[in-house]
Structures are given as structure tokens and as C-alpha cells.
């Protein structure tokens, strides 16, 4: 299979068939992994892939709000998430180069996809650990769920459509063309991260963990106090981030260099869930449910670039 893929990429350019083959590849890899005998003998025989209860079919992310409205909550807190392959096991050769490029675009978007970005963010700012970290919308959790129907535009959306959404809203930019190097690289990287994951299954750790409703109505004023105590040291007292050598070392939470008003993070529900699980950096899950909602309300109450879909 790998050799076949290599062959397809041999003449320096990616053939569109590659994507089809990649998807088929995932299906084949997944089925091989799940032949029990083979599974026992595989590199990580103890690894259990936790699959969330797949009760609802419509779990597609919308760029604007309520991404995981119907995402079922895992019954217990999952400690054994699907584990993507280690970075050092990245394949070499042309396929490997494309995967590596995808990783670089994802982590250093400001450098590797400079002209597609309209703010100061990188993909990794919201999808932690290079898109690997469970509970911060990891790429492996997303990849296996596409293509899928999306109620928002009443059609089956490709994985590329989803990537395009984050370019347009989260990065306030321009989506790369679907046959562009950038798109192929990001898809290759995601495909590789999902190596061994069952397709079409909502894996534990996908998206953000569902957050309980707050005991009290979210309040931006209380949120301001949470922000000052827990967030300002990194994101700045003014929330505009902290720069080193003209690049953001800590990203802006609002203002012209942050995500736009059409972005998933501009839904308080999403922001609260992300913040609860992942912020303050290195101290995820240390805020109370109420604090997470309040600070999310506060963050999303600030000015930022407008939603590009709204006509002025």
C-alpha cells in the first residue's frame, strides 16, 4: 500500500487520486488493525481505542456556533485515548515530506501559509500539541469523521471543507485551493495522525469534552476577574497576546490579530469547553465550570474582526 502511494507521488506532483487512495488506505489499515490476531501482535498490544457512544449522527462542526451540540458525553472520563503515531515515526520519502509540510503549516501557519492567514494565529494555538492533544479538537479525531453530512449547508462535506472553515474564520483568512500543496499537506498530516483509528467512529477525545451548564448565567464581569488572575500573565493584561521578535509567543484572545466573529471559538459554549479542558496552559481542568463559562463570556465580549459572511 505504502509503495503504491509512493509511486503515485513519484513524479513530483500529487495526483488527485491520492486523496481517494488515502481514504481507502485508512479503511484498509483500520480493518487490518482490527483483525484480532494482528491486533495482538501489533506494536501497542495494550492500547485500547476508546470510542465514544455514537448515539447522534449529526456531530458536525459548524464554523459559527454550537459545534458539538449533539456530541454524546463519554460515560466515564476516558484515560485511554487513541494514540496517534509518534513524531519520530513519521515516514520518509515523498509521502513523509508531505506529512512534514502539513505539520509545519499547522504549527507555524504564520510562516508556511503566510499569505492565507489574516490574523496572528497558528492552527496549533487552538489544536494543541500539533493537533495531537485529545480534548482540543485533535486532527485524528476529526479525520475519521469525514466526509460527512452537515445540516448547516445540507450537503456532504469533505475533510477539506472543514479545514477551509478554520482558515476562513479561526485564521480570518483565505482557504487554500483544494488541490493546493497546503491542502494536500494538511490532509496528509491528518491522515497520518489517524493511522490505525477506526473510520466513522466518534473517538473519545474528539472535539472538546462536553461542559456542564454553569450554575449561574455566564457573566463577563466575573469573567474579567478570572482573566486577570489566571490568563493575563500570558495573554497580556489587554488580552492582545505577548510578542517576542514580532511573533506571538502567547496568542491574542481578541483584537485585530485574533479569530473573527464567525469562528467556532466565538461561540461562548465552545470557548468555555476549550478553556476548561486546556487553559491555563499546563493547568487544564483547574478552573471551575462557572469560571470557564464566565471567562469565555468575557473573552467573546471583545471586539474582533467581523464575520466575513455578514454583509456590511
Amino acid at each position: 500500500m505504502n509503495r503504491l502511494l509512493d509511486r503515485l507521488t513519484q513524479n513530483g506532483k500529487f495526483h488527485p487520486m491520492w486523496i481517494v487512495l488515502a481514504v481507502t488506505g485508512v479503511l484498509i489499515v483500520a480493518s487490518i488493525v482490527f483483525i484480532p490476531a494482528r491486533y495482538e501482535g501489533s506494536k501497542e498490544p495494550k492500547q485500547k481505542i476508546a470510542v465514544a457512544d455514537h448515539a447522534a449522527a449529526e456531530t458536525l462542526p459548524e464554523p459559527d456556533a454550537g459545534q458539538h451540540e449533539s456530541k454524546p458525553e463519554p460515560a466515564v472520563i476516558q484515560t485511554t485515548h487513541f494514540t496517534p503515531p509518534a513524531e519520530r515515526d513519521m515516514p520518509t520519502g515523498e509521502m513523509g515530506d508531505m506529512i512534514k509540510l502539513g505539520r509545519n503549516i499547522f504549527v507555524h501557519t504564520q510562516v508556511y501559509a503566510k499569505n492565507l492567514v489574516g490574523n496572528g494565529l497558528n492552527c496549533v494555538n487552538c489544536h494543541l500539541d500539533a493537533g495531537r492533544k485529545a480534548d482540543s479538537a485533535p486532527l485524528w479525531g476529526a479525520y475519521v469523521m469525514f466526509p460527512a453530512y452537515r445540516s448547516k449547508n445540507h450537503k456532504v462535506n469533505s475533510f477539506e471543507d472543514r479545514l477551509a472553515g478554520c482558515f476562513r474564520f479561526s485564521l480570518n483568512g483565505t482557504p487554500p485551493a483544494y488541490n493546493s500543496k497546503e491542502m494536500l499537506a494538511l490532509t496528509s498530516y491528518s491522515y497520518w495522525l489517524a493511522t490505525g483509528a477506526p473510520t466513522g467512529k466518534e473517538l473519545a477525545g474528539r472535539g472538546y469534552p462536553k461542559l456542564d451548564k454553569p450554575p449561574r448565567q455566564p457573566d463577563a464581569q466575573r469573567g474579567a476577574a478570572v482573566f486577570e488572575k489566571n490568563c493575563a500573565i500570558c495573554h497580556g493584561a489587554d488580552g492582545l497576546g505577548t510578542k517576542v521578535n514580532a511573533q506571538y509567543a502567547f496568542p491574542p484572545l481578541w483584537g485585530k490579530d485574533s479569530f473573527n466573529a464567525g469562528a467556532g471559538m466565538h461561540s461562548v459554549k465552545n470557548a468555555a469547553a476549550f478553556i476548561k479542558a486546556n487553559m491555563p496552559l499546563g493547568k487544564g481542568n483547574s478552573l471551575s465550570v462557572q469560571e470557564a463559562w464566565d471567562v469565555a463570556q468575557f473573552v467573546d465580549s471583545h471586539d474582533r474582526p467581523p464575520d466575513p459572511r455578514v454583509k456590511k
Partner: protein
Amino acid sequence: MTFARNPAVEIGLLLLLAGQAGVSHADVKAGEAIAKSGTGNISACMLCHGLNGEGRPPAGFPRLAGQNRDYLVKQLKDFKAKLRTNPLMRPIASALNTAQMNDVADYYASLPPWKPGTGPAQNTAQTPRGAQLAQHGNWDKGMPACFACHGANGAGIPPHFPSIAGQNAVYISNQLNAWKAGTRINDPEGLMKAVADKLSPEDISAVSAYLANPK
């Protein structure tokens, strides 16, 4: 009081009162005098921190040269306020007034920072682990990369996050162990405690050695 008798301090104070934020030459000079000769009953900093603030690696005395100024001032204040304990540093910091702290911090911050590529390249069995922790962290335990908070290549993110690259390994591991043991408690919002708690003894050894000379 030493305060009133020190003309450099008075100038510094006047400048401050005049609303001058920049580091004046007088501050650095006054700081250099303290660092090299001490003042009153305070011994010269260089006795322990090295002639040019490079530290004394085997003893675990930290490098101060090129460290960010605000961080240095905070540490001196923390020693004085007993928020950070050390039998050698506490009496010294306690004897410094705020103006002297600012001067000496300005001086050390003005010295050249550690440069990558100096010192022998290391390549031991624990180097890959050290590099992994510094650059990528250990997310299985929820630990971010050291460089996420300490900046690209550990050069620091002023004003709150110190440079850690080129710091000596003994000192780094002392600090990590102190946070783990709960004897260093002056980190804002417990950010370093949360990190240190997720490091095994092997991790501490590997990451400290790596940071002393990261590639």
C-alpha cells in the same frame, strides 16, 4: 542609610520620578559596582555568580547574565520577602533596597545572554528525552513544552518567563526538585509547580542537561 548616601541611587530615583522608563547608564554602573565590589556588608555578587554573571555550574550557582530584568528583580524581592528560600541568597537580598535591586538587575540584564552553539555539543542517551520535553512537552501527563512558556529555544518571554537556555544543569535540576518538593513556591499561579510535578527524576536529569546547552 546606604540609600541616601548613594548618589547613583538618587539619580536613579530622580529619573524614575521624572517618569523615565529607560535604563540609564547610571543604573547599570551602580549595579556593576554592587556586582563586582559589593556594598556595605553585602558581598560582591560575582563571588558566587561569576566574574561576568556566567554562574558557577558545578556549585549550582545560577547564571544571571542576560536574564530578563523584571524576573531578576522579582527573585530578589521574593528572597527578601521569604517567598523564596535559600540560605546564601536570603541575607544578601534582604540587605538590598529596591533601588539597589533595580540597579543590579539592570546590570546583569545588560550583559550578553547565552548564545546557542557555545559549549560542547551533547549527545548522550538522555539527550533525545531532554529535547523532547523541552520542545514538545509530555502531553500524556498534560505537560506543555518548556519552550511554550520559556520561549523559542528557551530564550525567555519577558517580563514573567525567564530564559532557561544555557543555565547550568545543577541549578535547573535543583529548582525543578524544589518545586516538586514544595520548597520553591514563588511561581505565579503555580505554573512551574504544575510542570515539575509531571517530571520523573529521569526527566529532570535529561531536561536539565539538555537546557544547559540546547541545540
